[in-house]
Symmetry: none
Subunit: 297 residues, 2 copies
């Protein structure tokens, strides 16, 4: 025994016309239908909304109260029904891992903001395991992560490939080589990031390929730390291309970056989102936009 929205429409129409026939017509129903529903409603409420004399229909005090409230409700219902979904609106929570975010964001954010003016990009920087969990839990909408990612709940698109360079200090024996191979690393232990960084895993697999040991004593907390350690001649390491400074004044360099011949020394970055998402379109559009902006370095 609940009030329905139709009931509200009937009451409002009758309050306006003060005539059952006309009110019914305005509601696209027959007059007996409206009469009946109204009677039921009044029974449920326990008090009459209208006073019917044979000639005139008059609203009661109680009815007037009801009408006042019903009016604002109906207005809001109409508003709700016309509520439209524009997926290119609202917040888009994006996660990026720490050895990528600071180098990639300056390249892509201006374009994204320009291309999707109604989207608010909320970027958070976390290690991959955290990103994956938060994406699952819906705390993030999409993430940029190194491929491959095993999770079957996600869809992904490959975005770009980032080559690793060997970072050495100028006095290091390899510093003058124009290009190097994995074999050159045979007796060159590498400095690594701390546990949990996907780039640590990238570097470890390179070490496995080259048969190289690692400096177990040092575990840097960020790529910038790593770079400073190279400059301080603590050791050598891998740095991805995207993190290499552009304005390389060769004379003043404290760190030298040497490319690999081997194409396996790379990391692959993809954009991931939940298969089930209702905003697939958005991610595909964002992806397209990201792809072009990363290509034009």
């Amino acid at each position: 025994m609940k009030i329905s929205i139709q009931d509200l429409r009937y009451v409002l129409a009758l309050a306006k016309t003060k005539h059952f026939g006309q009110a019914a017509k305005a509601c696209f129903v027959t007059q007996p239908s409206l009469s009946n529903q109204l009677k039921h409603l009044e029974t449920r409420l326990g008090a009459p909304l209208f006073e019917r004399s044979r000639k005139h229909v008059m609203i009661t005090d109680f009815g007037q109260q009801f009408v006042t409230k019903a009016k604002t409700i109906l207005q809001q219902i109409d508003d709700l029904e016309s509520l439209q979904d524009d997926p290119f609106t609202g917040n888009l929570k994006m996660g990026i891992f720490p050895t990528l975010a600071p180098y990639l964001l300056p390249k892509i954010m201006p374009k994204l903001i320009q291309k999707f003016p109604a989207l608010r990009f909320i970027v958070s920087e976390e290690k991959t395991a955290t990103l994956v969990q938060k994406l699952k839990d819906g705390e993030l909408d999409c993430i940029l992560a190194a491929e491959p990612l095993s999770d079957t709940q996600f869809t992904h698109q490959h975005m770009f490939t980032d080559s690793f360079f060997l970072a050495v200090y100028p006095s290091h024996p390899l510093a003058s080589a124009p290009q190097i191979t994995l074999q050159d690393l045979h007796h060159e232990p590498l400095l690594l990031l701390e546990e949990g960084h996907c780039m640590r895993d990238n570097a470890l697999s390179v070490c496995a390929l080259a048969g190289t040991p690692v400096h177990e004593d040092y575990r840097a907390t960020s790529m910038e730390t790593l770079r400073y350690m190279v400059a301080a001649k603590v050791g050598i390491t891998l740095i991805p291309e995207i993190a290499i400074p552009r304005d390389t004044q060769t004379s003043a360099q404290s760190v030298i970056y040497i490319p690999f011949k081997d194409h396996r020394v790379q990391r692959h970055i993809g954009l991931y989102w939940r298969k089930q998402t209702s905003r697939k379109m958005v991610f595909e559009a964002v992806f397209a936009s990201l792809k072009t902006s990363t290509l034009t370095k």
Copy 2:
């Protein structure tokens, strides 16, 4: 095919529980019923309100917009349904916080029931934060809370002031004092309730006034626990006047209550309700009745 009120109830229930089965139960229907209706609604709207994976149900941005609007509508509908010629009829859902309810209710309920025979008082006991949320959501009609409460959606009336007494065990140095001051508390750490109790905040501000540390190790879950801890000589604490047993057989007491000289050692209790309520009259009448019954201890 129009949105129905039942649809709104389903959406809100699902948004709350994030579980089809539980949401259905909350709406007193079976799960397929809710699934179907929701699917129809989403079709009508042209966009999904929820994102379903087998494990998690997550609300979409669009769904969140819908829910926000639906909530206020539903609240108004409920309000409309309870609109009656005689507002002093039906259910009145009242909330009271835990360090007040068990001591105040026996004093006020008999009078309320006698004075408003057609009102059914449904009392629930929750911490203040929960009360405030439920009052906002329309799950409660009015609440008794410690003043001040910042929320602008509420109207309130001051009901009574409750003085704190110092509760000590008989062998404590202060036990024989007829009256004490804040200065006496200088080196007397107090036992406190756990987080979330407004009385904990009351006590903390007294500590701040007196410059007293607190026993951080103990966090009692109820005022009765606190009282037992004092009796067990774990420490001393504050107890509000209303919670002091009346039949003080001075000889057999295991806890002694000492009044403060300082009038700042008090809590102020007010009755709060939503500004927009249609039952303002009822709350004012209930308030008047409460005020007189608490004055006559």
